[in-house]
Symmetry: C2
Subunit: 166 residues, 2 copies
């Protein structure tokens, strides 16, 4: 089973696809960052995000999608802009018939580190370690997206364990 | 030529389609409000908005779409939620190949009343008068959507006048 994790945005959208290797052991299939040009009109940037995501879903065929929730913003303008991009991301997932899980940044950090205070650099190292990646994850956004996917994976795993115990 | 105006939201999305009768004289073709159920999951409400809009565009075949900008919110949470719905609305318009015009609430009010301080009730009356509607427009959201469409119509008309003068 594959999970697509997404760190939402309109200028940079992190994505990370993980695959169940065995049990609760997951490996990275692909990760990176969709970037849209600030030279383009905002609506066209939304369309770029949409088209890139549709292509990713078609190529990697994830079974579900995990999207980070928006949390903190310096101003309402940015919140609305990123919100609009996140709407496009949610729509694309749900239109593809995929179940969508949503996690707050705190939930993701707690899931990855056991406590909610990981710095960016730490998260990238932890995610790389969990996934057994030899190379450093260069993009913050890609690392966040992989972390969201791993959080969804962990939730699934835990809920299956609980079901087995019943 | 037809213009589809939209007052964005996720619980209630106002829409209004106007058609050029002659010169700068416009009539209402259809207007109303897409409502989504709070019982449904947020992502499914986004999908409902999407599907209803696609159906409206297919049925009425507007030449362009005008969407009100988001402006004031009591809290960031609401801004993000409505932002997500607006992203879906913008995407649907641009994917349909339609040019998108965006106007702030102030621009719409100024366009309708000459000054930016119209109350809700006033706007509904003015919009109904401009469009020659005999019945009252019951929905605030539909009246706002018609006002946005009329603002786009006025902008088009003014820019054509300017071009002719050149």
């Amino acid at each position: 089973m594959r999970i697509l994790g997404i760190d939402p945005g309109f200028g940079r959208v992190g994505f990370g696809i993980i695959e169940q290797a065995s049990g609760n052991d997951w490996k990275a299939v692909a990760f990176g960052c969709i970037e849209t040009s600030p030279k383009n009109k905002f609506v066209d940037r939304l369309l770029e995000v949409r088209n890139e995501l549709v292509a990713l879903i078609k190529k990697y065929r994830p079974a579900r999608v995990a999207v980070e929730e928006l949390f903190f913003f310096k101003n309402v303008k940015t919140a609305i802009e990123v919100g609009q991009a996140r709407g496009v991301i949610l729509l694309t997932a749900v239109e593809s018939g995929l179940p969508v899980d949503e996690f707050t940044p705190l939930q993701v950090k707690q899931s990855m580190t056991g406590y909610g205070r990981a710095e960016k650099g730490q998260m990238q190292k932890i995610v790389a370690t969990i996934l057994g990646l030899k190379e450093k994850i260069k993009s913050d956004d890609a690392a966040d997206a992989l972390a969201v996917a791993l959080t969804a994976a962990q939730c699934l795993w835990m809920s299956r364990l609980l079901e087995q115990k019943k």
